[in-house]
């Protein structure tokens, strides 16, 4: 049939028609828009409304940002430059930049020290965060806290060296004793470290910091975003191990340990963080004589760490509870003791389950570090609310400063959250 038919018609195509691109409405951005933005009448209306809303937001803010003034010495000068037009006064950020980052009392010649400590933080954190990196890098991670302390506070190098020596001795004692008994190793290590610190503390001469290589900077002079970072990093890294210990302690079959952990967790969780901070800054100074108080930074670190470790303990307890009972029994049936079972079987699984919760606490904790501004520490928010807004030049600049603070915090918190999502994907061993 087809042959005859072919003779009747005037034209028969002998070759394939070259593939032509799909019609404009079925490809490219137009197709995407038809499918995603204008799929149905209701959809189209929503799209138009959203575009209008975006326009409403951006039409005043974009000119405000783009028209911003970056160099001026005061708000009134900004306004003179703007001359009635809408525009931000970002000059406050450029003029007070070091104050926003380092506080107003950190010596200007020493700004490189916290900056260097900040850069080294990434190198130190890398092997912990990304476990594909060579394990040898962990040595630097172990040294980092002492190095960072020396860089930021300065003073005699003997103090961080002594702290390091105490930790090393404690670690050695732990290794020696842990083979026979975990508790003996654990407490033996702590006692050994304390002995080293006490003995060494006597040996460090009074006034050793006076002519140190790096001039000493007292804690009171720390401030700005540096203080938020320091509090956040220290407290998160301390509260994670303490939180794990508390979570395990709460599940312990030994009543004393169990009840200590339960009371600690429930008490701390029942008290607002700001109350703990007030206790740290106000009440404790009543108990100590004026000359010998514990460093305010240390007091705040202890309080925030206690607070967040109680929360992390509960998050991890959730992870432990989510593990099937069979996992515990399997560990027992292999003949593993408690420490081994926890380290090799239970905790790796429980911690994996707890990652979103832990990250949640960490992000919350990082933002909570701004609460220290109410106990007159000059973190980023404290710097903005106190000295900068109270200066005659910059009183009245709110959006630019607080927007900047929000942006800084967003960068860090979003980074943490992205890392945790990567970690969850990396650790996913189940087949979903």
């Amino acid at each position: 049939m087809s042959e005859q038919h072919a003779h009747d018609v005037a034209f028969v195509r002998t070759e394939f028609v070259p593939e032509s691109p799909p019609p404009g409405v079925a490809s490219g951005p137009v197709k995407w828009m038809r499918e995603n933005l204008f799929a149905s009448p209701a959809n189209s209306v929503l799209t138009l409304l959203s575009i209008y809303a975006i326009y409403l937001i951006l039409s005043p803010t974009l000119p405000w940002i783009l028209n911003g003034v970056w160099t001026a010495s005061s708000l009134s000068e900004c306004r003179e430059i703007l001359n009635g037009t809408s525009g931000a006064c970002f000059a406050v950020l450029t003029e007070r930049w070091p104050q926003l980052l380092y506080g107003f009392k950190y010596p200007a010649d020493e700004y490189w020290r916290p900056t260097l400590a900040f850069v080294l933080l990434f190198i130190a954190a890398a092997p912990v965060l990304f476990f594909d990196l060579p394990r040898k890098l962990l040595i630097f991670t172990g040294l980092y806290p002492f190095l960072a302390f020396w860089l930021i506070w300065g003073g005699t190098i003997l103090t961080p060296l002594l702290a390091l020596a105490g930790c090393v001795v404690g670690g050695l004692v732990y290794q020696r004793l842990v083979a026979s008994n975990f508790a003996a190793g654990f407490f033996g290590g702590i006692v050994a470290a304390l002995v080293v610190w006490t003995l060494g503390g006597v040996l460090i001469p009074e006034g050793a910091s006076d002519n140190a290589l790096l001039p000493a900077v007292p804690s009171r002079d720390l401030g700005g975003f540096m203080l938020n970072m320091m509090l956040g990093v220290t407290c998160v890294s301390l509260s994670l191990p303490i939180g794990i210990a508390l979570a395990l302690g709460r599940q312990s079959s030994m009543p004393l340990i169990k009840w200590i952990c339960v009371v600690f967790i429930e008490f701390i969780r029942g008290v607002p963080l700001i109350t703990l901070l007030f206790v740290a800054s106000v009440m404790l100074s009543y108990f100590f004589p004026p000359e010998s108080t514990v460093d305010l930074f240390l007091r705040v670190v202890i309080m925030i760490t206690m607070f967040s470790s109680a929360y992390i303990a509960e998050v991890i307890r959730g992870g432990l509870a989510a593990l099937p009972r069979g996992q515990y029994e399997a560990a027992d049936s292999l003949g593993l003791d408690y420490a081994q079972a926890m380290r090799l079987i239970i905790l790796p699984q429980a911690l994996k389950i707890s990652i979103p919760g832990i990250v949640n606490v960490a992000v919350g904790l990082f933002k909570d570090t701004t609460l220290v501004s109410v106990i007159s520490m000059f973190d980023l928010v404290g710097m903005i609310r106190g000295p900068i807004l109270a200066s005659t030049e910059w009183n009245g600049v709110y959006w630019e400063l607080l927007g900047f603070a929000a942006a800084l915090f967003f960068v860090v918190c979003y980074g943490i959250s992205q890392y945790s999502q990567w970690l969850e994907r990396r650790l996913a061993t189940d087949h979903r």
């Binding site: 708000l75 009134s76 306004r79 003029e95 007070r96 104050q99 107003f104 009392k105 610190w197 006490t198 503390g201 006597v202 460090i204 009074e206 009171r220 007030f278 800054s281 106000v282 009440m283 100074s285 009543y286 108990f287 100590f288 004589p289 004026p290 000359e291 010998s292 108080t293 514990v294 501004s373 109410v374 106990i375 007159s376 000059f378 404290g382 609310r385 106190g386 000295p387 900068i388 807004l389 109270a390 200066s391 005659t392 030049e393 009183n395 009245g396 709110y398």
Partner: protein, 338 residues
Amino acid sequence: MKKSVLWGALTVAGLAAGAAAAGTIDDVKARGKLNCGVTTGLVGFAAPDSNGEWKGFDVALCRAVAAAVLGDGNAVEFVPTTGKTRFTALASGEVDVLARNTTWTFSRDVDLKFEFVGVNYYDGQGFMVPKALGVSSAKELDGATVCIQTGTTTELNLADFFRANNISYEPVPIETNAEAQQQYLAGACDVYTTDASGLAATRATFENPGDHVLLPEIISKEPLGPLVRHGDNEWADVVRWTLNALISAEEYGVTSANIDEMAAGTNNPEINRILGTEGTLGEMLGLDAQWAMRAIKVGGNYGEVFAQNIGESTPIGLARGLNAQWTDGGLLYSPPFR
């Protein structure tokens, strides 16, 4: 080393604190620094500038005391305190003197066991309204919406004032001064009320300060002054008479410019006694003869300090008002140096 001190200290804390309180002046001299409690930042009164140097009206008093006692106006450790931490900082001995625009009230003086050594600024609650409202007295504010900080004495004063004048108002509660500024400018309230110095400072930050007026009524008494702990009268005397020296210096025309000239000796015996060329006033205080001279030199007399930090030539632009010398119709009245 610190640790052992710490544990031992726990047991003898009360004792040691008592001992420390007994001789603040010796403590300050031994330390070589004056610990002075200031605000974490209040326009014109205390704030660090872009170099981290503390400046302001209250700061100047700290520097004057440090100059009198230690001979150096920069030998001050400024301890920033918030409204909530200020009293414990003083009571616990963390600061030697609190110069933090604190209102002198009965309960603070008596119940909290502090000693106000004088008044360095007479403040009071005032009202600010937009000029366009056409109001010239607070008594014309019937039915107005008023922005007010909650939980402060200003709230109570406001209620009293309106009730006493038998007029009505609608409060718009706000939390902080910053919020109040925004609300007021956005027109959420017709009137903003807080301390008059705060109103002036707030108005100075507006784009068009001329469009807003401060009403003449001042409806409360807020005498702000430096305070020290109860029970150390020698130290209280030092701070009190340093403040009085600044005030008297203005009264007798001693300025930072002419003080060297006057220190050579003048015809006025009172000036001579203040500047230490006559009498032994410094010795009575436990200081040397030049104490007041140094205190005045560091930032000038009271009038100079006022003009530099909050006076009419500054953006804050406060008039002297109640804070003028008694000879000019104000309340500043220093007891004689004799």
